[in-house]
Chain length 352, copies 4
């Protein structure tokens, strides 16, 4: 697979399977001389790690990172950062069923078709654990963006049909589903707990806002800023859709409504979501992604085994009944990588 | 701009501005020995060209292509195809307003911020005319896919709030909006004509189906098939969102509903839209994109000029009041490029 | 073929065959706002064009370029430059022999093996005419380098065993072989004319000096400045070797001789050729390339036809008996592309 | 630094510094289902490791590799291989001098100029230790090439002016300098031991032969097989030149001599070194590289410190007085990567 590398001037390459010795990431193109330590990255890792609350899986992977290269005396050297995470909670015996059966909603069937061979322990490279490396790399990008005054925040706006009615940014990290509405969050948590007890799961919507981005970032024609954010988001296993600004609502709008008019103080609206013609306008970049329900459920489902025989499967295991809260830091990480990379590309273009 | 190239093993590089001498595309990595001629490509060009009906712009660019290299005695040679289209209907005087004012919804402001200089005649590289090269390249990819038994069809499912109720594939190319429901198409056309008379425009939704794709295509982790399709689609200027299979509906679904279970005859549903874990399942690949209302409207709008003074602007010109019908072949072209490229990557991986 | 694109942040894509309608190049990533016109590029084209003297081919291709996109009101816009050259001196009938026989030293055999099909008119993409696009792109890069105070000069130091004894830079463009020693140049020209009369050809050595490059350019580990210059040079069909600084002489040297020691005024020697550890030292970058004898000779040679039958071939045609003088501007062009690209990558890395 | 990745369809990314916790490599694009274990790779690692004889450094890095991902039940899975090597012989105190002074011939000065910061312990990324990852990746490529019947062998042909007179392939791995002439090898070893005692070092020439490559590999125009081999070789720190086939000798040859004529049994000579027009001919691919004398010598040398003051430096340490024997497996590894990658690209092109 030559698909493990992402980015042009700021690049990451993730590696490792969920049940091998370790997972990790290489980050190339990091600006040299920037203060960075493991603790800064660990903050983001802890937001992604399992077992944070009643609504996330109790698997106790110890998401403690180690920076193996690229830092010297507390500063980046400009050479590749290698960040490693050991896998410590391996229970391959729990995966005996997967060995012979295709779990509905999982990549078991497609990996077998692609490679003709599959490391069935914990989904291999399709495991959510692969995203740990992304979060580590994203933390490096976030550090670089901080120096530019750019911030990235994502949060749940809908879970299982329950929608947030208010946007209270301070609430996000204080509730277990990372929702922007504390009242809705309570109802979401109740729903998740109930579905979890029923052996079921649910999906949701996560919104992301990127603030402080200078106007002029993004590369027409194909490498538009929104195009690359879309690729970044859809590269996260659970995400099935993305929309920018007014998004799918635009389909029912008139041009006279949708166009963001300007006056001397700037744009009067932000239906474009901060990107026009693939290039940042200087307004907040806003997008929403659709998160599918967790595929691993303990309710019985119909499937086939590797020989094509019909079977019933129940995924007994340790899984998040809703992925939204833990996908939030992954979304932020990918957004950080894309935006910082585009700053670097713009520097190469202008180069003065 | 290093964003004019798309693809890995099948690559295209588009070039040219809407009001320069010519636009065109280079296609690299084309399988040698394949029968191909200008007429085959011209069929697709004619679907994209302006002036096809009352609902498209009357601009009379002559979208006649010339293959300048890469074909010998009616077959591809494996060397780069260069396809050229002259620009014949240049009326730069029509763009005097744009010279000094930023048109709402257009990339005028963002290009100025990015480059500090702008070819204001007809939007430069942000012009819809750039997509002519994509359609030409896509026709080449389509030819290669035909040999594999893969077909790609896109069509309008919604315009300005009017939705298709039935899916009648035979209707698509028979109505001016390329809708899959002939009755809805009539109402859509009425709406567009009314908005056009009012100097306004509207958006819509286009759906795309890719059939006959073998299971196993797509490169985890970052270069997932859906991730690259998403990038391809969002690289089209008017598109503001994409969803695969159940898409945003998945947010309100349970895992037990959304998971595509299997029996001996295959998948029982296709909520995934034909892609799981970034890899094709062998089912139809289905996605929908949100098309924004045409930015160019003749109704007066508020804007600023390049010096920041508040101004009123009316875009007098020749523009499509709804982009859906002409974006359909562009969507198909991009889809063809992505899928054929992934076939080639898979061949490189397995290489037996 | 996905090998027609070169560069990362400053990229070129060449296209066209020697006997098709046109050849050309797309240049992406050009700094916007830089003054540039066709005349500036034409100067370099004229140095590469055939028919400059008695020692070059009398083919009268008219190497007049047209900039089709990417320039507006005399300045680069930052969008892709497309530069076209029509092919006007096509005589396909002259290539009847090639149709069925493999010319020794030419890529006829290898192209057939690679593609299973070949445009036999004038070598197709393997033709020296492909380098016209490189020279045009290189002129754009040269323009960007001028602003940085970087200059690139290449010249012949040896032809057919005759070596230059002095380095007289002012002589280079005044003799037909572009040698740095006017006395040696006379002997070289005599040799070439004699070989030409005999239906034979000869090789030579060209040296290149890049001046004014700031220290710190080049990307360890794989994308070292010398590694990328080596790739650039070996991508020119006639070049079979490259060495930097002391080069192959280093094999017989001691570390105490070869190491470039320093004092307060800088490096005391330049055995490294201006690049250490893949990164520029700030000294002159110096390399030499081996140019093979022209493959097209009229003396009879043994070969086989496409069916494997033994044949005798005489390449009657219009060919340079020594490639050195015309390869000089191609070498300079490639060097310009590599160095400017690395400046842009360094800007992306540091980005301050 | 975005220069740590090499290859297109078979890719490697190396990481780590010589004196950090570990070094390693990620290999992407590996054909799935191929038998591979650590022992197979270790064989190549042991050929590169220090301390093999009196002529190599006594540093006792334990070059024991661990495959962290990408292998399942003894076979490749097609997902990225991560291969790690711990650094166990770290003596940073030995590098106090380097901290403030630029060692002649080393990348100390250039790294400081590039990054403005430098991990001075053991040369950081410019250390020869970085090549351990390349050798591990190359072993994976070698495994894939074995299935195609391709073999790669490199060997010393000259050291410090002493040349091999015979080519005895069986002798190569039996003498400490990996020379192809056992008698010359003895004289080479004597020379190295004498120079070592004098605190000096010497350079040499290494030749590489690639056998069994099918005709038709290589991508014109820029990604020629020889161009990419040249980049691969020049990316090795100690290498200052490369030539293919007749190489620099071609400069003094006539076309009638240099052209490889053919009869029904194939090519009559191989002056091209197995590559014409950038594409393999099916003959043995032959190239030679110039290896500079080891920069680290204990004889006193003139240099400056980081503040520009003139200083005298003596590199007391553990260094190879001649790099040739240990660079042989690195050259082979890079050649394996390039050739296997081109097989995969060819598969993508033809794709049948």
């Amino acid at each position: 697979m030559a698909g493990s590398t992402f980015g042009e001037r700021l690049k990451m390459t993730t590696f490792g399977e969920s049940h091998g010795e370790a997972v990790g990431v290489i980050v190339e193109g990091v600006t040299p001389g920037v203060e960075l330590d493991e603790a800064y990255i660990q903050v983001q890792m802890d937001r992604r790690k399992p077992g944070q609350s009643s609504v996330t899986t109790p698997r106790k992977e110890y998401d403690k990172i180690r920076i193996v290269s690229g830092i010297f005396e507390g500063r980046t050297t400009g050479t590749p950062l290698c960040i490693l995470l050991n896998n410590t909670d391996m229970r391959p015996s729990a995966y005996d069923d997967i060995k012979s059966m295709y779990r509905p909603g999982h990549a078991d069937f497609t990996y077998d078709k692609k490679y003709g061979i599959r490391d069935y322990r914990g989904s291999g490279r399709a495991s959510g654990r692969e995203t740990a490396g992304r979060v580590a790399a994203g933390a490096v990008a976030r550090k670089l963006l901080e120096r530019r005054g750019v911030s990235v925040v994502a949060y749940t706006t809908e879970i299982g049909g329950i929608q947030c009615d208010v946007f209270d940014e301070s609430a996000i990290e204080r509730n277990a589903v990372r929702a922007c509405d504390p009242a809705a969050a309570e109802r979401m948590i109740e729903l998740i707990e109930r579905l979890s007890a029923e052996g079921d799961s649910c999906g949701g919507i996560v919104e992301c806002r990127i603030r402080g981005v200078a106007p002029g970032l993004g590369e027409p024609v194909f490498d538009k800023l929104d195009a690359e954010l879309a690729k970044a988001m859809l590269s996260i296993g659970a995400i099935k859709g993305i929309e920018f600004g007014a998004g799918f609502q635009a389909a029912a709008m008139r041009g006279s409504e949708h166009n963001d008019q300007m006056d001397a103080s700037g744009f009067l609206t932000n239906n474009a979501g901060g990107i026009i013609g693939g290039i940042s306008t200087g307004e907040e970049i806003v997008f929403r992604v659709a998160v599918k329900p967790t595929s691993s459920i303990s309710a019985p489902q119909r499937t086939v085994d590797v020989e094509g025989n019909e079977r019933e499967i129940q995924t007994i295991g340790r899984h998040d009944p809703c992925i939204c809260p833990r996908v939030v830091p992954v979304i932020e990480a990918m957004a950080c990588m894309v935006v910082e990379d585009h700053y670097k590309r713009q520097a190469a273009l202008l180069d003065e």
